[in-house]
């Protein structure tokens, strides 16, 4: 496989969320606003890329019977580092993300890529695969965060864009429902619908 494909494929044909259906929990929970979504996307990308690299370097020395626990230890160490960095530099966002930073440990994307790719491939390829999957996950988070913040609160990155455009004066109202939990699920359903009607290969059965 070409190196460039490792980065490119997760954006569309092998997207972790819409095609592989991994890592849904955090994708839905942190996307009520754009800023936490972007921070979460960066954190997950860093963790997947580094975990992939480390596991790939160690892949010949890990006994297969205890590989899950070794992976968990490496991933949770990385997540603790990310958590400390977030608390030090963007404290307000880290409060908003609450338990979902810790839950990167059990994010299925991380474990899935470690099992499916890093255990059998070279370090450089694994690093690229990690970056690609992290970004493919990130793009869905950014789309969801953008839609939900714009239509739910009328702001983008905290900037009151609808108010500045003067749409409230002509009778526009925010759709508060879209920042509630169930709408996130329905929005992901719609994204999957759009993607699969463009790309017939991805349809099931």
């Amino acid at each position: 496989m070409k190196k460039f494909d490792l980065i490119k494929l997760p954006f569309n044909k092998e997207n972790p969320i819409t095609v592989q259906v991994l890592g849904i929990c955090s994708c839905l929970a942190v996307t009520a606003q754009l800023k936490p979504a972007v921070v979460m996307a960066i954190s997950v990308t860093v963790v997947v890329a580094l975990a992939n690299l480390i596991i790939s370097l160690l892949r010949n020395t890990i006994p297969p019977r205890i590989r899950i626990i070794v992976q968990l230890v490496i991933v949770s160490t990385l997540v603790i580092l990310v958590n400390q960095v977030l608390m030090a530099f963007v404290y307000d966002v880290s409060k908003q993300l609450s338990v979902y930073v810790g839950l990167i440990i059990t994010n299925c994307i991380v474990m899935g890529r470690l099992e499916a790719f890093a255990m059998t491939n070279k370090p450089l390829d694994s690093l690229l695969d990690g970056i690609g999957n992290g970004l493919g996950y990130g793009i869905i988070l950014v789309i969801l965060g953008f839609v939900r913040e714009l239509f739910g609160r009328g702001t983008l990155w905290g900037y009151p864009i609808i108010e500045k455009l003067g749409l409230y004066n002509i009778g526009y109202e925010n759709n508060g429902f879209i920042i509630m939990a169930p709408m996130a699920l329905i929005l992901v359903g719609i994204i999957i619908w759009i993607q699969r009607s463009h790309d017939k290969e991805l349809q099931e059965k």
């Binding site: 819409t18 259906v21 991994l22 890592g23 849904i24 929990c25 955090s26 839905l28 929970a29 899950i68 626990i69 968990l72 230890v73 949770s76 160490t77 997540v79 603790i80 958590n83 400390q84 609450s98 338990v99 810790g102 839950l103 440990i105 059990t106 994010n107 299925c108 474990m111 509630m180 939990a181 169930p182 709408m183 996130a184 699920l185 329905i186 992901v188 359903g189 719609i190 999957i192 619908w193 699969r196 009607s197 349809q203 099931e204 059965k205």
Partner: protein, 204 residues
């Protein structure tokens, strides 16, 4: 009464799936038939019921700020809470392993029906999420924590059995080809979530 309140709250209002999206991966992957999803739900409830109280004790007597003062007064200033993530996941992985061995030894029939799901549970976000919420919400004693763990597990079981029953019927309906499988499951989960929102604000 407080215990019952926490239990009802974690089953319906703070439902793991509909309010916090925890354990979505296995929820989507294993909800094809009612039978297997019931098995997974029972396994998750069981593991939550053991791991959350154990992690509560670890948090209370080892990790939270000043927790080590029972060992000696000079340790009162120690704060190990940054270690909680790695210790919680280690406890969960270890307990899942032990539970698997115990069930295999004493109840082979239960092992055969749960067996394949147990290793999956170590990396189920609902289980780690249960421990992290327990830490964040600051329950005051182990009874409350146990009620919370049992309620969360049963809420998860309820959600996965519900969606599995709907998906069994969906096989006979005409869904647009692009929505088949995962897409329609997301949308139905969203609709179920809206239904569960009506429990919001109920207090016993």
């Amino acid at each position: 009464m407080e215990y019952f309140n926490i239990f009802i709250k974690s089953v319906f209002i703070d439902n793991m799936i509909f309010a916090f999206f925890l354990g979505m991966c296995s929820y989507l992957a294993v909800s094809k038939t009612v039978k297997t999803s019931f098995g997974l739900g029972v396994a998750v409830t069981f593991v939550l019921l053991i791991t959350v109280p154990v992690n509560y004790l670890i948090d209370k007597y080892l990790l939270s700020p000043g927790a080590l003062s029972w060992l000696s007064p000079s340790l009162a200033g120690v704060d190990l809470s940054f270690l909680s993530l790695i210790l919680f996941i280690a406890v969960i992985a270890a307990i899942v392993q032990i539970v698997e061995m115990v069930i295999e030894r004493y109840s082979p029939s239960l092992y055969n029906s749960l067996g394949i799901f147990l290793p999956l549970i170590a990396v189920n976000c609902a289980v780690l999420g249960g421990s992290l919420f327990m830490q964040q919400r600051g329950y005051s004693n182990i009874g409350e924590v146990t009620c919370f763990a049992l309620g969360s597990g049963i809420g998860w079981l309820l959600a996965i059995v519900g969606i599995a029953a709907i998906r069994e019927r969906l096989r006979y309906s005409a869904i647009p080809p692009a929505l088949k499988g995962v897409g329609i499951t997301f949308i139905i989960t969203g609709l179920m979530g809206i239904a569960f929102m009506s429990f919001m604000g109920i207090k016993l």
